[in-house]
């Protein structure tokens, strides 16, 4: 088998064959997916910006993300195509969405979406790197991320290109420079590389961030409620962001409710349980003949033990040697260079089944503090009470999986149970019944704890991991691993118990109050009657009353 015989799949073909996985299988879903991909792209950029500012010790810029979705007419698309033909670099083009609003026809199935953030922006030299090819990105370490394919926005661009034929427009500005870059860009689906159809730099426009505009075919009627639900839910798990959303002539604001920024994800080395043979081969291949290990210069390849210590998390010398000698039954001092495919096979098998490695490191995860979630939920859902259970970490295939369950109860929550699922702080809106969270909720048997017919409950489950264990590549729902389901179920039950405790405490307090009221009220009547029967001798009514109150205070207050 030689590599030159393998045909490279073109981006167009890949997209066509995998549109369902990518979330572009029908016009409605495509509309929804386009919105979420651009939004998540912006969120990732803003998070990275915050991380960088924090590292530099500079003041944080809280993210503002503005989203506009408007129907556009065929006529406008036609005009736009013509304008684009004329504009090859220095023309003015159409600017601003407002112009479209006057001539849209509601029966049209074409839309323009514009998403703008106040992130770091992209220097125009790097735009091609970012929006260049569909399949890019070589990851050495692992890191928690929102992105579903490491190419979310690019999929939306391709979809736009395929439906309206129009290029993507990008405006970008960085903090460092007082100018704005404008690009019109399309992806060459055959060569899988970017084509700039227009680009220019506009001086003296000081701002920072990125604005993307796509024209695409879709169905907003289907997507609208899902888009709104998406923002309602994402606002819960990114409460430090302002989202301004315009859909047609409706405006929505999801206001930032906290100053607190969760610790952002950091990159970490892989855990030995999470590596397959191909990945292992890649890792081995990266080593040159000379390398630096613990500040000692050494000639030649590292030993096998050194390789494990360098490339995997939580492996020290002792663990490495013990594992290699007794589990793999290979000499720990064997040079990496001498490893053949049989060795790698043995190593890989042993790595995935050895149970004495430390659990995956979860410190690299970005976990929204439950206080922030509760604050956001109080603001957005207006419940009477929220209880959270957090800190449950399990590992699935070498990846740490962190679970937080928050249960909001009463107040303005409608009766019944609603389940909100979050994976790496992104709401999952589809295929709820297949999700492990749904199954856990069924098993948790909420009715044992809370009467949902009297007060409503919203159960929010946030699953955070360096690799969310989705069922399939569409990533609509999390797979039903026994350990995961059990852990989520237990955390739900713990949260339900908390709510139950709150309800019974409240009822007990109310009952106590009522009892006290009842005692005082009846003591009053008792005093009147007793004084009347005894004609005030030996005690007057008020004396009797005082005595009764004294006893009530002593015994019940």
């Amino acid at each position: 088998m030689t590599s030159n015989k393998v045909e490279t799949l073109s981006a167009a073909q890949w997209f066509k064959e995998n549109s369902e996985i990518a979330g572009f299988d029908n016009p409605g879903k495509s509309t929804f997916t386009s919105v979420r991909e651009l939004v998540e792209n912006s969120l990732d950029a803003c998070d990275e910006d915050i991380q960088m500012l924090q590292m530099r010790g500079e003041e944080i810029v809280y993210p503002n993300i503005n989203i506009v979705i408007q129907p556009v007419s065929h006529e406008l698309i036609r005009k736009k195509i013509l304008a684009n033909l004329d504009d090859t670099g220095s023309g003015s083009g159409l600017d601003g969405i407002e112009e479209f609003e006057t001539d849209h026809d509601p029966t049209e199935k074409n839309y323009v979406i514009e998403v703008e953030d106040n992130g770091p922006g992209i220097h125009h030299e790097f735009v091609s790197l970012v929006f260049g090819t569909v399949f890019t990105g070589t990851k050495y370490g692992i890191k928690q991320g929102r992105g579903r394919f490491g190419m979310g926005a690019k999929m939306a661009m391709i979809h736009a290109q395929r439906t309206t034929g129009l290029d993507t427009e990008i405006w970008s500005a960085t903090r460092e420079e007082a100018e704005e870059s404008y690009f019109r860009i399309r992806i060459d689906l055959k060569s899988n590389s970017p084509i700039y159809t227009a680009q220019r730099i506009i001086p003296d426009k000081p701002w920072h961030g990125l604005r993307m505009r796509l024209y695409f075919g879709g169905n907003l009627v289907w997507a609208k409620q899902r888009i709104l639900e998406y923002f309602r839910q994402i606002a819960l798990v990114t409460p430090y962001v302002n989202f301004r959303l315009v859909i047609g002539d409706e405006k929505y604001l999801f206001r930032r409710v906290t100053d607190e920024i969760p610790p952002l994800p950091t990159e970490t080395k892989s855990h030995p349980h999470g590596i397959d043979i191909e990945e292992l081969k890649e890792m081995v291949k990266r080593y040159p003949k000379k390398y630096v290990f613990k500040s000692e210069k050494k000639e030649g390849y590292p030993t096998l033990a050194e390789f494990l210590m360098l490339d995997f998390q939580g492996i020290g010398e002792g663990t490495a040697k013990k594992f290699l000698r007794y589990k793999v039954e290979i000499d720990p001092n064997m040079s990496l260079n001498e490893l053949n495919d049989v060795h790698i096979f043995k190593l890989s098998q042993a790595m995935s089944s050895y149970e004495d490695f430390p659990a995956p490191d979860s410190s690299c995860l970005s976990i929204l503090p439950h206080e922030s979630l509760e604050k956001a939920a109080s603001f957005l859902l207006e419940p009477e009470y929220i209880n959270s259970v957090t800190g449950n970490i399990i590992s699935i295939k070498g990846h740490p999986v962190h679970i937080t369950t928050s249960v909001a109860w009463g107040g303005k929550i409608p009766t019944g149970v609603a389940l909100y699922r979050f994976a790496n702080r992104i709401p999952l809106l589809f295929k709820e019944r297949s999700d492990v969270c749904y199954k856990a909720l069924e098993e948790a048997n909420i009715k044992r704890y809370i009467d949902i017919n009297v007060h409503g409950v919203t159960v929010m489950v946030s699953v955070v991991s360096t690799r969310i264990p989705y069922q399939d590549a569409a990533k609509d729902f999390i797979a039903d691993y026994d350990e995961l389901r059990e852990t989520i179920k237990l955390s739900m039950q713990k949260a339900f118990r908390g709510v139950k405790t709150y309800i019974s405490r409240k009822q007990a307090e109310k009952k106590k109050e009522q009892e006290l009221e009842k005692l005082i009220d009846h003591a009053d009547r008792l005093a009147t009657s007793l004084a009347k029967i005894t004609k005030g001798i030996p005690m007057s009514e008020s004396e009797i009353n005082q005595k009764l109150m004294k006893i009530i205070e002593r015994e019940y207050a």
């Binding site: 009846h522 008792l526 009657s529 007793l530 005894t534 005690m539 019940y556």
Partner: protein, 387 residues
């Protein structure tokens, strides 16, 4: 006249049932001791309860009163006679969340009754309820408290000067003086005379009746009084209209005690009819403490007995199937001592349970509107068909 000859013959049989004046029923030793108190004594007892509460208060203790429980769980049955009495089980009303309301209600009722006794007046249960509607909320609450108070004072309700509004009716060959007025019950039209709740105001009973006809329901009472049954037979007609009140039971007892004449009861042929018969004869559980003042012993069950349905060929379409509640009630009654002391009565109940059907007195109307007064009753009396 042949008819009066027959009547004479029949009366001979009834006269044999006459019982000489008996002493008041004695409560068994383990029953709660109840006595009739005078107005002054009752007033004093109420003051004693109040002073006792105040003295507890003086020691900074919760005021509390022990009230005898008036329900089946505190019922004592005289093993020999089957009469029903109250035992010594008490419930404490005190300054606690669970009982303060009942304490306040009890003392409020005591207050009202104390006032009434001071004025030397009577009052109905309804009037007492209206003295503090806010507290009582429902009349059943104050009604119960009146009886609770009476039994707490170890006396009968009549001693509290609280009476129920008149419920029972009487008509027939009897006259008496009520509150100074001479009442002749043979001249009461068809509606009869209401049995006054103020039983202590009844005196000078005069009657030539040979028996009392006690009917469960108003409908049967009306039908028999319209037929002027007391002109044909020397009798007194009484109804308590369902479960009898204290006054009706006292009136019946008074008549029977003074004359010794027997009582013939006409009840529905169902477990509830039998239970009413028990109230007249052996006492009720809620008022067990008053049994010696209320029960009438010289009682015979005339009809409508389960066996009559066959014997008098009552058409089957007026039979009513026993409900589950009827069956349960019937089985419970069979366990009770008084019924075991009346084997002929319990045989009837067994027959009813076995047949699975019951019937109301009105079922007799299926054989004609005058069937009861013209055929059924004469036949019963003439054939001495009572048990």
């Amino acid at each position: 006249m042949t008819q009066s000859e027959e009547n004479l013959k029949l009366l001979e049989g009834i006269r044999q049932l006459k019982q000489v004046e008996k002493e008041m029923i004695k409560a068994p030793k383990d029953a709660l001791k109840i006595q009739e108190l005078s107005l002054e004594e009752t007033k004093q007892s109420i003051e004693d309860i109040a002073l006792n509460l105040l003295s507890l208060l003086d020691f900074d203790e919760k005021p509390r009163v022990s009230v005898p429980i008036r329900s089946a769980q505190n019922t004592i049955v005289d093993e020999e006679t089957g009469h029903i009495f109250l035992g010594h089980n008490m419930v404490t009303r005190s300054l606690t969340p669970s009982s303060v309301r009942q304490l306040a209600v009890l003392i409020r009722v005591a207050d009202g009754i104390h006032e009434l006794l001071t004025l030397g007046r009577h009052s109905t249960k309804r009037e007492l309820f209206y003295t503090d509607v806010n507290l009582f909320e429902e009349q059943t609450v104050s009604d119960r408290a009146i009886e609770d108070l009476a039994v707490t004072l170890r006396t009968i309700r009549n001693a509290t000067n609280i009476v129920a509004s008149a419920k029972g009716k009487i008509i027939g060959r009897i006259s008496f003086v009520e509150s100074g007025d001479l009442i002749d019950c043979s001249k009461m039209g068809t509606g009869g005379k209401a049995i006054t709740p103020f039983q202590d105001q009844i005196e000078n009973i005069d009657t030539d009746a040979e028996f009392v006809l006690l009917v469960e329901k108003d409908a049967a009472f009306m039908s028999l009084s319209e037929a002027k049954i007391y002109e044909r037979y020397p009798c007194i007609l009484i109804t308590g209209i369902g479960q009898p009140d204290i006054a009706t039971r006292m009136m019946l007892r008074k008549i029977v005690n003074e004359t010794g004449i027997p009582v013939f009861a006409i009840m529905d042929a169902d477990p509830f009819g039998l239970e009413i018969l028990r109230s007249y004869t052996f006492g009720s559980k809620a008022l067990g403490y008053e049994t010696p003042w209320l029960v009438t012993e010289n009682m015979y069950w005339l009809g409508l007995r389960p066996e009559d349905m066959e014997n008098y060929k009552i058409p089957k379409d007026v039979y009513i199937p026993l409900t589950e509640a009827d069956k349960k009630k019937g089985k419970e009654l069979l366990e009770e001592t008084w019924l075991q002391n009346k084997p002929k009565w319990s045989d009837q109940l067994r027959l009813m349970l076995k047949s699975g059907v019951k019937a109301e007195i009105q079922a007799l109307a299926s054989k004609g509107f005058e069937y009861m007064s013209e055929t059924y009753l004469p036949q019963k009396l003439e054939s001495a068909d009572w048990i």
